[in-house]
Symmetry: C2
Subunit: 335 residues, 2 copies
């Protein structure tokens, strides 16, 4: 019993109003992923085109819509400076309830504005984890708002799982059913949801996780069969994936995921450029991590040939980036 079942995902799909995001492909990326003697077809699920620019809206929306009327009226709260904050803000706005987002005072102005733009109240705090937690606790005491964790919450996981539901069906309709799907992993909410959906709907489809080698806690936890954490200060250009896997997500990952692959910073940046250039999609580096596994990870390439995996789905999880910053990164690897 893992706390997340397929019926939770079906219920989420019926409850939330999200974009059914497109699935796209590129013959050039197929060529890079395959080889002369082994053709592959990559299918990209465009969650960067989801409302608020990332898949996080699905989970936030399901968590907000799952609240009873009394709790809902008191609002929701989170401490995040990333995509979950924007997602929760919009989800609350749509339900017409307050959202309180605790953000470190040194967060970029553009992130605070984005969250405020969706109508949330931003509560600033000192840039430490303790200060964030204290500030959130105070908000909750003062308002009665419900705390919505970005990934360690089963309603959030169920919302993210709707990606898997759509993707399996879309790939079948396109005549290229998924042999495998690669999901970037940070806290593991999306991975838990998608693996639960895919295992149920298409038991023969493999589910793999993709992680930056710099923050490879999921890979080490998966191998060690116990919760391993990232070193304090470990970082990556894939800044959406810095988080450690959650206590509620790891058991699901252990049970339902077929392997975890890691990629280097250089491969993440190189892949970001390929996706911008050939798919014409402005992904954030976190979204390149899954693609980089398909293109450059030797163990993945060997395993996919061994298991005869040809139609490989990859989640492009978000697109909230500073364009100029990414372009500089791309230049940095070309120099």
């Amino acid at each position: 019993m893992t706390g997340l079942s397929f019926s939770d995902i079906e219920a989420a799909a019926a409850r939330i109003q999200v974009h059914k995001t497109n699935v796209v492909s590129s013959s050039i990326l197929d060529q890079i992923a395959g080889s002369e003697h082994y053709a592959k077809h990559l299918l990209f699920k465009c969650e960067l085109l989801q409302k608020t620019g990332s898949f996080k809206f699905r989970g936030a929306s399901n968590a907000v819509m799952s609240l009873n009327e009394t709790d809902a009226r008191k609002g929701v709260c989170t401490h995040s400076s990333g995509n979950h904050a924007q997602a929760l803000a919009l989800a609350a706005k749509i339900r017409g309830i307050p959202a309180y987002v605790v953000m470190p005072s040194n967060s970029p102005q553009v992130k605070k504005s984005a969250v405020r733009g969706y109508g949330a109240q931003v509560i600033e705090c000192e840039p430490t984890l303790q200060a964030r937690e204290d500030a959130a606790k105070k908000v909750i005491e003062d308002t009665g708002a419900t705390f919505i964790h970005p990934f360690n919450n089963y309603n959030v996981m169920a919302g993210q799982g709707t990606i898997g539901l759509e993707f399996v069906q879309q790939a079948q309709e396109m005549g290229t059913p998924l042999d495998a799907v690669i999901v970037p992993v940070g806290g593991g909410g999306m991975l838990s949801g998608i693996s639960t959906a895919v295992r149920h709907l298409s038991p023969n489809t493999k589910v793999f996780a993709a992680e930056p080698i710099n923050v490879n806690d999921c890979s080490r936890s998966y191998s060690a069969k116990s919760h391993q954490l990232n070193a304090v200060g470990a970082t990556s250009v894939a800044d959406g994936l810095l988080t450690n896997v959650g206590t509620n997500t790891l058991p699901i990952i252990m049970e339902k995921v077929d392997g975890v692959f890691t990629v280097s910073e250089e491969d993440i940046i190189r892949t970001t450029k390929l996706v911008w250039t050939y798919l014409k999609l402005c992904i954030e580096p976190s979204a390149a991590v899954g693609v980089a596994v398909a293109l450059y990870n030797k163990e993945f390439r060997a395993k996919s040939e061994e298991l005869d995996l040809r139609n490989i789905g990859v989640i492009l999880c978000g697109g909230n980036v500073d364009i100029v910053k990414i372009a500089r990164l791309i230049e940095s690897i070309e120099a």
Copy 2:
């Protein structure tokens, strides 16, 4: 009698195998396009996600598929260093016939590689119009190949018209039928095709052209009701739109288009950034020209309120760009 009818476009739609490209939108861009007292909804047709990265594949494909078997076997030829060359190369490859592309010897290596990558034979020549035409003439004499003009060819126009066919239908299905559509204009092939389709399918939908003010031959020709040319050397960041309107396209434009609006270089770059940031789509600057009209052209904004145009379609015509170069352009207007 203009040489292009709606039935040509229907026939093209049945003949060519193209991506039915997605239609997307952004609440933030809607806010910028509208005002407090006048709400607007922009619908973006994603031709940058078309095969070969631009709408040009539709027209090239229709031209290639329209050839009889004898002519087809001898191949097709064009002189272009842009999106039409790649599009024709792939269209020929799909039919299994030769493609000959005349390109100036100083064309960027990446463009030559792209055309060769689709299997075409590149014939290099001196970088003058005369040398290009001479080289193309020689190829045609030597091989019997058919010359496929990038826009002044009715089969090409009919192929581009399939964008209009899809877009009218998609907007209706989305519950937001088009009050107007804005189409970037260079040679006018896409504008001729789309205006012919839209006029037929949805007579109340206005069709407007969008042009960089630096190369405003279409705008001047439209006002003067006679063929006006750009000054030699006139240029724009929207490098897909430098061409003068064609002798075969201008009469169609005069008959079927409701107005031509122009935008500044700065507005084109600013809009490119907005589309990359909020739609997460790596458009080329040419594709920003239509969006820039919707966002920043005062005459367009006044006219749309006067005519009560609310659902505005815009064609994002292509996405073949050097990312780093565009990022530098974006930085240049921010400095």
